[in-house]
Symmetry: C4
Subunit: 286 residues, 4 copies
């Protein structure tokens, strides 16, 4: 995200004015032109995703499939120009190309071009897969929202604990899936352990499709146990993330005394509790 | 909600006694007459909503449809009188008409009158739509409950973070919906990307109707992943709202020392921990 | 629960030794005999509930219906004797009879006796209703668990806020139910507004039976919105209860200085922050 | 888990070098050899579980059932050797055999051997039960993850409160299940109280299979009530676990001043707030 370090900024200043101007418009959003560019880009991304989605509805495809195909090519060409401009304007070109959004941007372009290079009957389905990958373009929107950082920070901090939790859940569904496979068997639709594990996940997460459900008293008892377990287990990730969000926010809202550097977490504090310096104007949080 | 500012109160005092009395009865609830008016109004609103609901049940309509129609007109006339009285009694008439509840109150009246102005065979369905809008009247109840403020404050404070979360959820269901459309296809009922995105929402939110469900091993694996994701993701809004409610409440319960301004969050504290001044009589919370 | 005040205890002491002994055994659990009585009672309650449940399974009823009927009468007579002993041993007899558990105890006895007083063909179904009320006996177990108090205290404290939340949920399901009734209509199974409101509750609470589900794109869009709303709204009661449990526990763990009465919430504190008296041995929490 | 006390360590030091080396490799993970052993073991466990799962899919069994059978025997022999080495290397042999993982390890071996001892037609199903128990081997993975301790500590601390909650849930589903059995009866599929209680669990936990669902207005009203109850009740375990995780973490992160023993929970603190001693090097948390 932070595609410029202090050194890059120095290099950048020595470059041509056009280069600098493009950088500001494309990568930053603190000038009127930059903000207009970002808003137009977001609208184009949403429009292109909607076009791909509508194209998949048989009735709409028959009616306006040609126009949607044209729209797709227009969007693809616009996004290609945008990609080349980004490559040119970025201080370190390879850094952009290898960054998370550089790869997403490329993935969002590839399917349309590949649908030309790979013609022929039995490749059609593959082409469809590639075309739909264009909806990854929607993920580009995420970078325009600053508020996401707090959530991501909290999720990262609780990442290892959530991994342990997910592993425990996985163990439970494998064991319970195997047990229900033996209890219920083929007649109730539990035709293999992997399918039974799938059922256990459907049940533990309280989704409950009902396409497969236990029919014997013993199977229903086991199902009831895993439901109550799933109902209670949700408390664990919720508790972990709640705590991490609370910690992330308290760090966020902490202020440092401008005179002596003492950190202050009380939002009511007006003066440093060490040196009595005024704390106002130094608040970090929103 | 606070339909009177200090200036309005002054203007109000100079008006006729009837005007003042009506204002107290209709807009306030701190006199016996005002409280009786509010309770009667709530009962009438609930009765009118129940009448509309019963009218939609074929068996009940055949039996007592005529009476329900009469009841609807009686309620509509009563609420119309109430609306006119509110307009008259409100210090700033246009302010009431343009306020949130002024608009709701009008919307709750319109459908019955429009059902007269728009007669004829094929308009019947439209009239039904308009009639059912009368249930919005139920929303008027909300203004009589003070406790809602804390919840609303917490939701507002976490609003931007929840918007980011909802956007992330939307991105996930669009991408996963497209992937399942390609994996499963028409045979399993995934006939278009919008329908597949609907399925992804049904699954991620752990609703799980089961009207459409994946049949291939790959599709079931993807479904299992999105279920576990949805099961874990719920922790994010829960954590955000928990924290905001906790912050809103601690702000609510905080007291300031009347002598030196030190804030005190301990509900047991009797004296200021700085200057020993008596803290009673300055409590802000309920 | 606290069926004896200080005054009652004084009265009690003047009574006969048998009376006192019975009170200790039946109402208290801090003597070996009292504990044995409570454990036997719990086992009898669970056994009688299991007997009622098994009696409803057609296959089991055919096989051992007679024995279950005998068991029901044995349990009913035992519980009747227990009820009379409680009435006799209780310091204030009417107080027990009018207490929550006094009423539950009576309700748990009544159905069996009523099944004798009300014979005859078409009354049988009514008798079955009354018999099943016997499972309320299971609620008697709750009084033996002390840990429930913390949860109940937290739920009571957040009661008004949860009521506001439930009212908001009710408003939403009434409005959404009416809208889906107009959008979908009879063909999709939404045959009346009450049934559509039922569907809205099934969807908002993420239960998702799938017996009724929207078939039109507009209906599915509305369903998707209410699913995401329900998925996010759960954060509100969770946040409220989390906070109240946390408050209830911190009150629970608070210690008072034995010398000056200052309350201390820091679990690490060893000495009073006012008068430096030793805080150990005065901890209130478990 | 902590299979060595200080006394054991002393005994261990006097033993042969081979014994010591084996102990380090098999039971510990802080040497390169020990870590390599653990990683290989985890991979072998996962591979053997996958083999059992694949063996249950009819199509895969027909194709490569023979190879899967060979793989099962190879894994069983490897794990048997591992079990004997653990018995030999463990300072107290019986202590390992009687420890939680000692029993799990044995259970993970038994099914394959028992499938030889119990041949014959009608025992096949039993053998299948035993074979599937091998997936318990997957639980062995849990011991390699340190992060699990915090979660387990929080769950243990809130164990009694969660037990009370589960008991309350059980009471509710028994009472509601009996009521719906009387309201709906056989025609809607509620053929016995145990099955109706199963339905009540499916509904309260918001799983909602939809294989059985109420058809009468009264039954649907009761179902709606239990859904809203289940939707709200989830807040209780979530609140309990949130609080316990928060307490467990704050205990985890607390540091004691090496000079005066004052506890410090602020992770930013560098010096004791009482005596200004340096706090670094005494941090307990990770």
């Amino acid at each position: 995200m932070a595609e410029m370090t202090a050194a890059d900024v120095t290099t950048q200043r020595r470059r041509s004015r056009l280069h600098q101007y493009l950088y500001r418009v494309i990568f930053e959003a603190d000038t009127p032109a930059g903000r207009a560019f970002d808003i137009l880009l977001i609208l184009a991304i949403v429009a292109s995703v909607v076009a791909v989605m509508l194209d998949s509805v048989p009735r709409i495809r028959r009616a306006i499939g040609g126009w949607l195909s044209v729209a797709e090519w227009v969007f693809t060409i616009l996004f290609s120009v945008e990609y080349l401009l980004r490559l040119y304007a970025s201080p370190g070109r390879l850094r952009y190309a290898r960054s998370f959004f550089g790869i997403i941007d490329l993935l969002a372009l590839a399917p349309t071009y590949l649908s030309v290079l790979l013609p022929g009957g039995h490749y059609l389905l593959v082409v469809r897969v590639l075309r739909v990958l264009r909806v990854f373009r929607v993920l580009k929107l995420a970078k325009y929202v600053a508020e996401a950082e707090l959530i991501v920070a909290a999720l990262k901090a609780s990442g290892r604990k959530i991994a342990v939790f997910l592993f425990a859940v996985l163990s439970i569904v494998v064991v319970v899936g195997s047990m229900i496979y033996l209890i219920e068997g083929d007649e109730s639709g539990f035709i293999s352990i992997p399918l039974s594990v799938y059922w256990a996940i459907v049940t533990l997460t309280t989704v409950g499709y009902g396409d497969i459900s236990p029919q014997t008293p013993l199977g229903q008892t086991l199902a009831a146990l895993i439901m109550i377990l799933g109902y209670g287990l949700i408390a664990v990730p919720t508790g972990l993330v709640s705590m991490e969000i609370s910690l992330a926010l308290s760090r966020h809202q902490k202020r440092l005394c401008p005179a002596c550097g003492t950190s202050e977490s009380d939002p009511d504090a007006k003066f440093c509790r060490r040196c009595a310096a005024d704390l106002h104007g130094t608040k970090k949080g929103a």
